[in-house]
Structure formats: structure tokens, C-alpha cells
Amino acid sequence: MTTVAATHDVGHGEHAPSGFWRKYIFSTDHKTIGIQFLFLSLFFLLLGGILAMQMRWQLGFPGKPMPGGGILPESMAPGGVILPEYYIQLVTMHGTFMVFFAIMPLLVGVFANFLIPLKLGAHDMAFPRINMASFWFAFAAGMVMLASLFVPEGAARAGWTMYAPLSARPDLSGAELGQKLWSVSIVLLGLSSILGSLNYITTIINNRAPGMTWFRMPLSVWSLFITAILGLLALPVLSGAAIMLLFDQTIGTHFFDPPAGGQPLLWQHLFWFFGHPEVYILILPAMGMVSDIIANGSRKPIFGYHSMVFAIIAIAFLGWIVWGHHMFMSGMNPTLGSSFMISTMVIAVPSAIKTFNWMGTMWRGNLRFHVPMMHAVAFVAMFVIGGLSGIFMAATPVDMHIHDTYFIVAHLHYVLFGGSLFALFGAITYWYPKMFGRMMSERWGKIHFWLTFVFYNLVFFPMHNLGMAGHMRRIYDPTQYDFLKPLQPLNTFISVCAFLLFASQAIFALNFIISLFRGQKAPQNPWLDNGLEWTLPNPAPHGNWAQIPSVYRGPYEFSSPEVEEDYLPQTRKLPTDREPAVLSSGAPS
């Protein structure tokens, strides 16, 4: 039996890249790519927020000139007064940027790239150059989408869900180029996502360090693995749909054109067949990272690790057969609707299992409320609220009344903002030392957390009430309906809180930026965590390890009786530990 003799591991990049361009711009190092995604996504998060602020101005102060609105063109906001045509662009592009260019790349592009090789004990991703391509496709997609804001007729305006035939026909929507650019951007983004997913899946399956068996992987990696599978299989459907939409828009095909036999419902089926797995893509990585952070902050192993893994898999599996619950009011076949109602109710169960497991982890733990822990605990609470509103919507008869109302807006923001974004604030704070070698300010982190938490709930909780009262989504001027006039003070209240919420994010932004230069230098393992990434210096070097480490245990050995410290890293060898089995079976070493 022959083995490959090597003095040290031959990783992909034996030589660290030199020169500014290869090191920072066209880098194949997964950590650099993760940070590139971070800056790109934070920019789009800010942009999405700015669009939302304009929406809230119109809703809170309908028909009044917006401060600073003078810079907008006359065709969009004459004298700073937002026109309906512009309002619907704000709605569409806020959703588009937030879902596709902020939350998704923040969760996946940043943390899958950054964490997976570090947490698994790999030098880099399986395909570093494809990884680089994935970032640049996302960048190109973002630039195309950004450009669509500035074309003469304006951006796409059929809602982020881009229903056809409104989206396919400029005579109906009033925008031609903007709509086409949306389709092009989404095709590019789909490609970026697919290339990324393929990297994450291959790396996780094939490049785990010796001893890193499947059930010793941290839940953050498990969730990123399952998310990557979801992305791999769902994004191509969106790309296909976007291509068909683009063809309807450009070369005169009739996929979604009723007079020629096309089916608008086909677009909805395609979009939501992608769209539902997409929302699990937007939550599972957050859940995974929250698991890591809560175990750390509780100084206890995760309660029910195996059930957590199976719950993630169950959520992903069931997520493929619930898409019709977005279409209960579409006029689709009612029998089909019932089957979707049942599957949607069922999918609440694994999520609930996870919630109880988080609580079980915290129960009687040695709780440390560092900033990431605060965000993680808030995640659990906000996600429960979002999940509960989801149960209401799952019941078709109830959904008949609340579909396309602010109840849905409340739900989606509770899971995406209260859920994903809070988890992201926590995760960014948690892994910031690993990325940049410094700590973010704990004090300003706590201030940011509390302000965000309070204002966020003041903005989005009342939306449940608005929705139940019949306030519809995407509406430009609610006061045109008599039955909504009494609700207008609530709209104004929400808008004011939204402005304060947005302003509070400046604290996070400043904390982030200033800490890059003036933050306290981070110790190697500031959170006293067990993951492999904390055995490397901050920031981690190119190629991560000179020699791939061996793994001896799972990731959540906190407060273990075997050692004095309240944490026990995965790679620390105790006298009672044996070397991983795979090393003695002839694999190269």
C-alpha cells in the first residue's frame, strides 16, 4: 500500500498570494471572499434600509414632501412627494435587495465561506477559484440590480415576487429596462449561489479533518450544509423561471402570457417552488449559528444535538412541499391547497423542537450575556413570534383574510429581521475577532442591541394589528379607504419608530468600522469556545493550518467534568483520547 509522502500538507495555496490585487480583490482565500461578501452585503443592507425609510415616510405621512426628497427625479417624486409609481419600485426593490443581496449573502456568502473550512479543519474550500467566481458573479448581479434603480423609467415594480404577466409586459408595468435588468441580475445571482453551494457541499463531504465525523460537526456547519443543498436545488428553478421571464420580456415568448395559452400561475408555482426553500435558506444558517452561540453563552452542551440535526434535515425536506401556502389566494386548485395546508402545519414541529432545545440548553446554564448571546436569545424569542404568526397563515381559511395584508409583513419581518438579522448581528460580533483580529465594543454593542430590540418590536408588532384590520400590503395611500383611516395614527407611529430604528443602526455601523482600527486587540479565543477556528491566531493565516489537526470530540463540550476549564476544544487531546480511525487506515498524513 503506497501513501503520499509529504513533509507538510500540500494545500491549494502553498504560497500566500502577493500583491494588493491577488490578496484583497481577486483572492481565492475563503476568508477574504467571506469578508468581501460581508462588505458587499452590508452595503445592500443599508440600501434596503434607505428604501424602506422612504416607504415608511409615505405610509406615515402620505402625500407630504419627504426631507431630502428633492434629490429624486421629478418623474419619481416631484417636490419630494413620492408618487405611486415610485412607491411600488421602493416596495419591490426593498424586498429584492434585502432578500437576495443582504440576508442571503450575509448568511451564506459570508459565513459559509468564512466558517466552513475553519470549523472543519480544512485548508480552504474544495474549489477556491470557483469560490472567487461565485463572489464576482454576486457582485455583478448586485451592480446590475443597482443600475436598474437609475434607468430612465425606473426599477422593476411588480413586487419582489415579480408576478407575471405584470412583470413581463411593460405596457402593464410601465417599466421595460428596469424589469429586464431584474431578470438578468437574478440569473447571475443564481449562478453565484449555485457555484457557492457546490463548493460548500463538496468541502463538507470530502474535506473534513480526521476525527471530524458527521456528528461532531458544529450545528452552524450542519445548517450551512443543508442550506447549501437547498440552494443548490432551488436556485436553478429560479434561474430557469427568470430566464423564461426574460424571454417573455425580450424575444416574445408566451410562457406567462394568457392570450397565447401561457399560465401566470406557472410563474407563481416556479417562483414559490424556489421561494419556499429560499426562506429556509434565510433562516437555517441563522439557527445554526445561534445554536453555537447559545451553547457558548450557556457554558453547556447543546440540548439534544442529534434532534437538532434531524430537525434541520426535516425542515429542509418538508420545505419542498409547502410552497403552495404562498398561493392560497391565487385561485389554484383547492384540493392542492389543502395538501399544502397540512404540510405547512407539520413543518412547525421541527422548528418547535429546535426552540425547546435552545431553551433546554440555557436551562440551568452558567449564563453569560455577552453581546452575541443577547442577540441569540432575542433571535429565539422573535423567531417564536414569527413562527406563531406563521401557524395562523398556514390555515387556509385564516389566510384568506390575512393574505397580502400587513399581518404577512409582520410575520416575514419577525422571522427575517427578528430572526435572521438579529442572529447576524450576533454572529458578526462573535466572529469579528476571527475576521479582523479585534473586538467590537461590548458597551456599544449592548446599546445597539437594546435600541434595536425596542424599536424593532414597536415597528413590527403593531403590523399584526394592522393586518388583522384589513390593511393591505404594497399600498401607496391607505387613507383612500375609509375603513383604514382610523388606523393611520398607527401607521405614523410605526414610521417614527422605524426612523429611530434605522438611526440606531448607525451605532452598529460605527462600532463595526471604528473597531476595525481602534478595537481592542482580540485574544486568540475571546469567547472561550471549542471550535477549531479558535485554535488559530486572529486573523487566521492563508491556508489556515500548516498541518491539518485531528479532532477528538464534538463541538459543545462545555463544563465538562474531564477538565478544569469550562470548555474543552475539539482538537485538544486528553490522555484518554485515541487518534481518529481514518488516520490509521492508510490515508496520507
Partner: protein, 223 residues
């Protein structure tokens, strides 16, 4: 294959066992899974639109040229065989036959694309467009005299060109990739019995493209 081959196609650093496939092979399979979903969107939409079509669909063979396409199908299957023969050759260490079979595959693939391009130009000339039937064309007369159903020609054109067009695009990418491998790797002897990962990966892609065509040919041309 010997153990030596197997261990050299493992990563050169210690790792858990995984799926006993080197990264390039696993990566290609993963990519192909995404391609299945992409073609599901296109082909699925065709099935859905056809099932729900507001009238009869055109009969097979009236618009599309079956004999030429049947030959094209045969050609692609043959190129799939030559590809696997190329793979078998290098796995036995035979550089010469690798070159021969790979070249045959490239030529077969290029011919497929060429014939499909010919098919497209001919169809467009006769009046078959992605948007349906062009006014005043030869096919428009068939619509007028009832040989072709007016209500569904728009869908027929849309679905035909989308599916076969993207398939053709994938074939073209495959031909380009194989040509690149041939010119810059195979001719320089970069593959050996110990390491032929690239050939294996591109072979998988090529077979997949053939597999999709097998499905497409049946449901687009024959039904």
C-alpha cells in the same frame, strides 16, 4: 484500479473518508444535481403548459425534422460512447487512445451543435419562432389550412426554443471545455493512469448532456 491510484486521487492532506470520490468528481455530481433542477424548470414548464394548453398541440413531425434530429440523437449517443472509451483508455494508462477518443467526442459534439444550428435556421426560415409562427411564412399557411393548431403555436415555439436552446448551450460549453482539455492538458500529457480526474469530470458532464437530450428528444420531438 490499484490502491496506489485510489490514494493519489485522494486529497494530499488527511481527511475523513467522505464519499470515496475525489473532489472534482463529487463537485461535478453536485453540479449535475443543480442542472437536473434547472432542466426541471424548463422541461417541467413545457409539460405543465402542454397539459394545460388551450387546444391541441401540433402533431409530431409536422414542424420539426425528425430524421435529421434522430441522426443527431444517434450522433450524441455515439459521442457519449467515445467519451467513456476515452475515460477507459486513460484509466488503463493509454495516452494515445485517450487523444483519439477525446477528439472523436469533440468532433461529434461539434457536429451535433452544427446540425442543431442548421435545424434552427431552417425552422426560422419556414417561420417557426420562439414567439410562434411568423406571418406570411410557410408554417403560417399550415396554420391557415388547419394542419397546425393556431392556439398553441406560441407555446410550442416558446418551449421548443427554450429547452433545446439551453440544451444546445450546454453542449457547446461541453465542447469548449473538452477542446480546452485536449489542447492544453491531454496533448501535454498532463493526465496519466494515476491522475485523470479532469477527464472523469468532463466525462460526467458530457454524459449528463446526452442524458438530458435523450429525455428531450422523446418528449419534444416524438410526442
Amino acid at each position: 484500479m490499484t490502491h496506489a491510484t485510489a490514494s493519489l486521487m485522494r486529497p494530499p492532506f488527511p481527511a475523513e473518508r467522505g464519499v470515496d470520490a475525489h473532489n472534482l468528481k463529487l463537485g461535478m455530481w453536485v453540479f449535475l444535481a443543480s442542472e437536473v433542477m434547472f432542466f426541471t424548470a424548463l422541461i417541467g414548464s413545457y409539460v405543465i403548459l402542454r397539459f394545460g394548453a388551450p387546444g391541441e398541440w401540433a402533431k409530431p413531425g409536422v414542424v420539426l425534422n425528425i430524421p435529421v434530429t434522430a441522426f443527431n440523437t444517434f450522433l450524441l449517443i455515439c459521442s457519449s460512447v467515445s467519451m467513456v472509451k476515452a475515460f477507459a483508455a486513460i484509466s488503463d494508462g493509454d495516452q494515445k487512445m485517450l487523444k483519439v477518443w477525446l477528439l472523436v467526442t469533440i468532433i461529434g459534439g461539434a457536429m451535433f451543435v452544427g446540425i442543431q444550428a442548421y435545424e434552427y435556421t431552417h425552422l426560422i426560415h419556414r417561420g417557426f419562432l420562439p414567439s410562434g409562427v411568423r406571418e406570411g411564412s410557410e408554417l403560417a399557411e399550415l396554420v391557415a389550412n388547419g394542419t397546425l393548431p393556431a392556439a398553441t403555436m406560441g407555446l410550442y415555439g416558446s418551449t421548443f426554443y427554450a429547452m433545446t436552446g439551453f440544451h444546445g448551450f450546454h453542449v457547446t460549453c461541453g465542447v469548449v471545455a473538452m477542446a480546452y482539455l485536449y489542447l492544453f492538458r491531454v496533448r501535454r500529457g498532463k493526465y496519466s493512469q494515476q491522475d485523470y480526474r479532469g477527464i472523469e469530470a468532463v466525462g460526467l458532464y458530457w454524459h449528463f448532456v446526452d442524458l438530458v437530450w435523450i429525455i428531450l428528444f422523446t418528449i419534444v420531438y416524438l410526442i
